[in-house]
């Protein structure tokens, strides 16, 4: 009998939504025309790109001309950081797409300041006081993620962008983990730039978008043709753009239902974990300032990497914030930034549920943890 596979690593990537695939197929077959061509083969692809842009804009409360297609979140982040000017203030627990782009800019002489998240109980957030304290003259851009990819905390972006604007800087948020999962409104958030990646919300891989507020100037990252209003060159990935818009639209329509479903699953999972491991430690805030379906949990005394591999052998996919090779143990920059102890960091796994997960999946995870605790002698 084959074992039931349970995918609980949705923060890494999500399954492609069938409706998105269906919408993509014509543009991978008969409607293969280049949307920039001036003959009739361009007509449908061009209309599809235009419609997708309008759909995405509606989902985040932007104007269609403020949406620019990219190859994903990494390109969108790099574009903002490398296309902007002045000093930069970034949080120390950003995704590497932001941190490494900022480090590259620092190598070119740009002033980069790092702000750390709040630590300790209820920590994991970037608070306006922290941002104000870290401020330095000459900061032209602030980049703080909407939701953290390892601990799932959701930052108060509207407060942070307000502070940045009052001090004369532009504000960028990497919303890769949040778009399609929690309400995103670029007007309410007050951001000038927002990055997103389709494969995190059941769209295809290799496509994303950047919101650039009207009137805000950004130098192109890629030079070439005149696509994307002349600031992002490269023939449009029509099928993926259509797939991304379809997935986002459906996820936004189902958002309330998905959030309620994931909150139920999360409660059940936490309850099951607490019964097996009474000393489990949860990272991140919980409640409304946490991504739905997101659990970052530490089992002190266990080795997270071993636990991950044992769960994988049982057909369950989760993730860790620390990884070992034969000689070294590397703790992620996020767990370091939130200042957890080495023991906690090395015993933390990330379980991220998606809308397609079921109560049976959650019970399967709990059952596997119970078996591993008993037979593999995991500490209680």
């Amino acid at each position: 009998m084959s074992k039931k596979l349970i995918y609980a690593d949705h923060a890494a990537t999500t399954p492609l939504m069938p409706e998105a695939l269906e919408a993509m197929l014509p543009f991978m077959k008969e409607e293969f025309g280049n949307p920039s061509s001036i003959h009739s083969w361009a007509r449908k692809p061009c209309e599809a790109v235009c419609e997708a842009r309008a759909t995405i804009a509606r989902c985040v409360n932007a104007d269609p001309e403020e949406i620019f297609f990219t190859s994903g979140g990494t390109e969108a982040d790099n574009w903002v950081i490398k296309g902007s000017e002045g000093g930069m203030l970034v949080s120390s627990y950003e995704h590497h797409a932001v941190l490494n782009a900022a480090a590259s800019e620092a190598g070119c002489g740009r002033d980069i300041v790092y702000v750390r998240p709040k630590v300790g109980s209820g920590g994991g957030y970037i608070m306006p006081e922290k941002l104000a304290k870290a401020w330095r003259d000459g900061v032209g851009l602030v980049s703080i993620m909407t939701a953290n990819n390892e601990i799932g905390t959701v930052n108060p972006i509207h407060l942070l962008s307000d502070l940045a604007h009052k001090r004369g800087a532009f504000f960028h948020t990497d919303a890769v983990q949040a778009v399609g999962h929690i309400p995103i409104d670029v007007q309410e958030m007050g951001v000038d730039f927002l990055s997103a990646s389709a494969h995190k919300f059941n769209g295809p891989k290799g496509i994303g978008f950047l919101f650039i507020r009207k009137g805000v100037k950004l130098e192109p990252l890629l030079n070439g043709g005149q696509q994307e209003n002349g600031i992002r060159a490269g023939t449009e990935n029509v099928a993926s753009i259509v797939g991304m818009a379809t997935a986002l639209k459906i996820n936004c329509e189902r958002m309330d239902e998905n959030i309620a479903h994931l909150e139920n699953l999360t409660l059940r999972l936490r309850d099951g974990i607490n019964r097996i491991f009474p000393y489990a430690v949860y990272l991140g805030g919980g409640g409304t300032a946490q991504l739905p379906g997101f659990i970052s949990v530490s089992f002190p005394g266990c080795t997270a990497e071993g636990l991950l591999h044992m769960l994988d052998l049982k057909g369950i996919a989760v993730s860790t914030g620390a990884a070992c090779d034969s000689k070294n143990t590397k703790i992620s920059h996020v767990l370091k930034a939130v200042n957890v102890t080495k023991d906690i960091a090395l015993s933390t796994i990330r379980i991220t549920l998606g809308a397609e997960n079921t109560i049976e999946d959650v019970d399967g995870i709990v059952f596997a943890l119970k078996l591993l605790r008993g037979k593999a002698k995991l500490p209680r």
Partner: protein, 68 residues
């Protein structure tokens, strides 16, 4: 020459891959000098030995130096 390691349960002599797998899965146990052979690990985790072999191949592909 170092004494060959044996399985903590059935005392079978262990291969390099079994030692590596014990280290990957049960680090705290191996720190106490306790290792397990493939059949005992499979029984403990209620998986097949083929599952374990596939996992070992995955570690090798990832470049883990613990395996032969």
């Amino acid at each position: 020459m170092a004494t060959p390691k044996e399985c903590q349960y059935c005392h079978a002599e262990l291969s390099r891959d079994e030692i590596g797998l014990s280290k990957k899965l049960f680090e705290s146990e191996t720190k106490k000098g306790k290792y397990s052979c493939m059949p005992c690990i499979a029984a403990m985790l209620e998986v097949t030995q083929d599952d374990l072999i596939a996992k070992i191949e995955e570690f090798k592909r990832q470049g883990c130096k613990l395996f032969g």
